[in-house]
């Protein structure tokens, strides 16, 4: 009797192990998509991927990191496809041969946000670079991402345009080295100016009580592109899945979804599709 029971137990355990290993394989996904936190945190990616899976049966596994890390993962072959917003780094990745294509999908604007009282006078700035110069000149607190993300790279570009040393640190300059969400929280708490993508900013605006103070300008344009990693590095099935993802992002229906996303929650779209 005891022996029989032991046998049953053994079978049950074996079955459980099989079931688990099966599931683990399933959860691995068919496509490893590395993207930036802004696309995930706004909820756009989740909405798109549900439709993508319905249409193609491909399950994408998403890793959201800063664009710098995303590009490095692409370079090291630790991704199948990238969705990032750091044009210069992306072009370098394509030039190096690690990525075979860079397809702009959608865009929006960065905003310079700050306390409504606007002590540095950013509202009256003639350009984004002028706004940065005013913040630096008035020694106002500024919360920097400091994490080599696409947004941080844009900060650095604006600093250079403003004629400031990109490593310039005035006494109330903060470098968080964290994601957009936490950097916005820090800016809210310290009543600091901050450069943010519009999507994450709108999602945090009410909590942190900061206002968008900048006007759209070419130097605040923020383009998101899909990059396919060199297919020679990938398993052929994954390379094919990456191609399908790129085609999906360009499809009319997807572009319409992008154009509508955010209207309900934020009263305005967060991204403008580039192929509509």
């Amino acid at each position: 009797m005891t022996r029989l029971r032991f046998l049953y137990l053994l079978i049950a355990v074996a079955l459980a192990v099989f079931a688990c290993s099966d599931r683990a394989e399933e959860e691995e996904g068919d496509l490893l998509l590395v993207t930036t936190t802004s696309v995930r945190d706004t909820g756009l990616l989740g909405a798109l991927l549900t439709v993508f899976e319905e249409q193609t049966g491909i399950r994408a596994q998403v890793i959201a990191v800063g664009s710098g890390a995303a590009l490095r993962m692409g370079r090291d072959g630790n991704a199948d496809v990238l969705l990032t917003h750091a044009p210069e780094g992306e072009q370098k990745l394509v030039a190096s041969g690690a990525a075979v294509s860079r397809t702009p999908i959608m865009e929006n604007y960065f905003v310079i946000a700050g306390p409504p009282e606007d002590p540095a006078g950013v509202r009256n700035a003639s350009s984004p670079a002028d706004a940065i110069r005013r913040i630096a000149d008035s020694n106002a607190p500024f919360a920097s991402r400091g994490d080599d993300s696409g947004t941080h790279r844009r900060e650095v570009a604006l600093f250079k345009e403003a004629g400031l040393d990109p490593d310039a640190r005035w006494s109330s300059f903060l470098s968080s080295g964290t994601g957009m969400g936490q950097t916005l929280e820090i800016a809210g708490e310290k009543r600091a100016y901050v450069l943010s993508d519009i999507g994450t900013f709108l999602a945090f605006r009410e909590r942190i009580e900061l206002e968008s103070l900048s006007k759209p300008a070419p130097s605040l344009r923020n383009v998101y592109s899909v990059l396919r990693v060199n297919p020679d590095w990938l398993d052929p099935e994954r390379a094919e899945s990456a191609k399908q993802f790129e085609a999906f992002m360009l499809a009319l229906e997807t572009q319409r979804m992008i154009a509508d996303f955010g209207r309900e929650r934020f009263g305005r779209p967060l991204f403008q599709p580039l192929h509509l």
Binding site: V65, G66, G68, A69, R72, M73, G146, D147, D148, H152, R169, L174, S175, S176, G177, T178, Q182, E185, I186, G188, E189, K190
Partner: protein, 218 residues
Amino acid sequence: MDPPSAAMLVEITARTLVVCLTALAISLAVGLPIGIALGRRHFRGRVAAVSLINTGMGAPPVVVGLIVYLALQRNGPFGALSWLYSLEAMVLAQVVIALPLVVGITLAAVGSLDEDWELQVRTLGVPKRWRLWLLVREIRLGLLAAVITALGGILSEVGAVMAVGGNLDGETRVLTTAILMHTQMGQLEDALALGAILLGLMLMLAGLLTVVQQSGRS
């Protein structure tokens, strides 16, 4: 973004030690008397108090961080302190993590004393003011265990200090948050270098305390 310079490594390491050792000192100063009192006195509500301590010993640091964050944020109950994203906030969160560990282990050490110990001491006619000193001597190995556990817990913790400290460069960046940051930025070599420092630090402190512990045994 440049890799961390030697000066920066020293700065981050020094800050880590200051925060952790301050939190440890506060936790010990508050936790030891509470642990001893809870271990010796029997009063109504003691079971509830001990359960609370045991729960605190297993509290996930990241949840502690979240609660301290909510308490300290500008619109929170203690927002007027302006402590969020400062060293004070990090020490506070670490005290909340370490205090239950110190109280719990002290309590266990006192509880493990021979039941007749108190009686023996009284029978020997030891004056009351010396009894406490004798007690502390008797449980010193348990107290060292409390110190090592608490220090290990807060030195290696990242969730809470990230939430309430914000990893601000030159202000609240400590070893664990810097490691996390460099990992997320894909700068694995830098993350590894900082990790080696943290491990070395833990090894040194644990080694030091173990030597004290072993010499106390003989």
